[in-house]
């Protein structure tokens, strides 16, 4: 057992696991990590079963270990990690002992990172998942200072501590692929062209539910009176103001605003890792290309997880692996 006190927690820091799949028909959003690749990578690095992680926002987190000891790792983006005053590279494995103070702050890039312990965090679950859905208070709430964290079944796996992976390979590109529809015909043809030809900027209206994008205003020709229909992650929903809102992990399950397009699953997490004022370009692809991209990304991710698991072996292998990883990551990012 290891116990921690939260000394500082920025906004939107929550407990997330795989998410709560299969209950959208009851209005329950799936939630889950904003960057699923990084969340999964953390568990592969630690060799733990997929469980709860702390999703840390750019607001940062500082925790102190009150008792016990446990290994942990942080993945996702390129965050600044400080352990007992010493800087650690991001995507590192380290050990927390009684008296240790861990500080995580926004770094060079990335909006979300994942803290995973080699143990089991004591957290509430609902409908088979520990993921917090901000707003409903049905399964926990965002973490705040003075909250405590307890980890059971702690262990110190025989792992090399230090950086496992250089995050530079994962820095998202500005191109985001979309499939048009289901209501692209509700917009002027100029707006459908603008969506593909002009750049869009992520605004500060950015949370786990979605991010509002700013660019040329998308003009709706139809009346805003369509019956509400189910919406998925990645949907580019356009309310009357003409700015598309990309729906993310905590998206509402239905909506009455038209969707001009949907971000393909292979690019959704990259968009989540970008920051306000970052610029993106949309590239329209077919459903077939989107499915092919999902397959390529899945295979690349599997190889990547395999390698980061293996990279515990020796320095020589690690170096060899990092060359291999860079090739695979270019697949994930392609």
């Amino acid at each position: 057992m290891a116990n921690f006190k939260i000394d500082h927690a920025g906004p939107l820091i929550t407990i997330q696991d795989k998410g709560r799949t299969g209950f959208m028909r009851f209005g329950v959003t799936p939630s889950g990590p904003m960057d699923r690749v990084a969340y999964l990578a953390a568990h592969h690095m630690m060799g733990t079963d997929l469980g709860a992680a702390i999703e840390i926002s750019m607001g940062g987190l500082a925790i102190s270990c009150l008792e016990g000891q446990v290994s942990a790792c942080i993945t996702g983006g390129d965050f600044k990690i400080t352990l007992d005053g010493e800087n650690l590279p991001s995507w590192s494995i380290f050990t927390l002992r009684q008296g240790s103070r861990l500080q995580v702050q926004a770094g060079k890039w990335g909006s979300w990172c994942y803290l995973v312990f080699a143990g089991k965090m004591n957290v509430p679950t609902w409908l088979g998942s520990a993921s917090t859905h901000i707003g409903s208070d049905l399964c926990g709430a965002p973490l705040s200072a003075e909250n405590s964290i307890s980890v059971e079944d702690c262990y110190l796996p025989d792992l090399i501590t230090g950086q496992v992976f250089d995050p530079k390979f994962f820095k998202p590109q500005s191109e985001i692929r979309i499939v048009l529809g289901p209501q692209d015909h509700f917009f002027t043809s100029q707006s459908v062209q603008d969506l593909q030809n002009e750049k869009f900027t992520l605004t500060k209206d950015f949370n786990r539910q979605g991010v509002r994008l700013n660019g040329p205003k998308l003009k709706i020709t139809h009346a805003l009176d369509m019956p509400s229909e189910p919406v998925g992650r990645g949907a580019l929903q356009v309310p009357g103001h003409g700015d598309p809102i990309c729906l993310l992990a905590d998206h509402q399950t239905t909506g009455g605003y038209p969707k001009i397009a949907t971000v393909i699953s292979a690019d959704q997490d990259k968009l989540s890792q970008m920051r306000s004022s970052d610029k993106i370009f949309f590239k329209v692809v077919t459903v077939e290309t989107a499915i092919e991209a999902a397959k390529i990304a899945h295979q690349a991710e599997q190889s990547f997880y395999h390698i980061i698991k293996d990279s515990q072996k020796s320095l020589e292998e690690k170096l060899w692996n990092s060359n291999l990883v860079s090739g695979i990551i270019s697949d994930i990012n392609s």
Binding site: T21, G22, F23, M24, R25, F26, G27, V28, T29, W126, L127, H133, G135, S136, D137, L138, I178, V179, G181, P182, M226, P227, S228, E229, P230, G232, R233, G234, A235, Q252, T253, T254, G255, T262, V263, I264, S265, A266, V287, E288, A290, I291, A293, A294, K295, H298
Partner: protein, 231 residues
Amino acid sequence: MNTYPQIKPIADIGLLIEFGQTIDVSIHAQILAMDQAMQDAPILGVIEMIPSYVSLYVGYDPLIIIYEDLVLNLKTLILETQKNQIKIQREEKHWCIPVCYETKFSPDLEELADKLDLSTDAIITSHSSAIYTVYMYGFAPGYAYLGGVPSKIQIPRKSIPIMGVRPQSVMIAAQQSLITTVTMPSGWWVIGRSGINPLNKSLEQPFMFGVGDTIKFEPIKECDFVRFEQG
């Protein structure tokens, strides 16, 4: 020329089977029949279905099922469902929900009476004498969209949503009514408070209503409401 149903892809994550464009009982019946047919004969790779007003959403995993195969499968199933006129197996339930419409619990009733040029009693009588149908869930956990608001009390939602509308609020907007389950912002008109929260998170099946169920509201007095809340 639009013919329904139409299958519309949503990137590589799902598709919508659209059965029409307007909210209508017979269109909704086709959606429920298709949802039922897909529950009776699950297709490997289909993650979930979400019935709604005019469409059925089908979420799938492209790593498990080939998109073209899924579409063929669904087209066959649509034809079978139409031919056999599949009746919903699930027993549709009829609910009677106690609602207290007294001033303390109905912050928008006076303003609504003004706007509709009706007495508050007339609004209450109208709201509580209609039979509502659960068309779909949406927006937030356990938010069941009820169709059937009488035309004389139909009014568009407020122009600006109100933050922090509390659970068990009974609200209306246009032809819809809804009982809130959690604290959320809402632009609907709050006209009463339900004696029951239709979401009980401690139950294994936390959602009280099934899509297709019917509901009637039963006005109760504040003293009964307090007794109700205390069990």
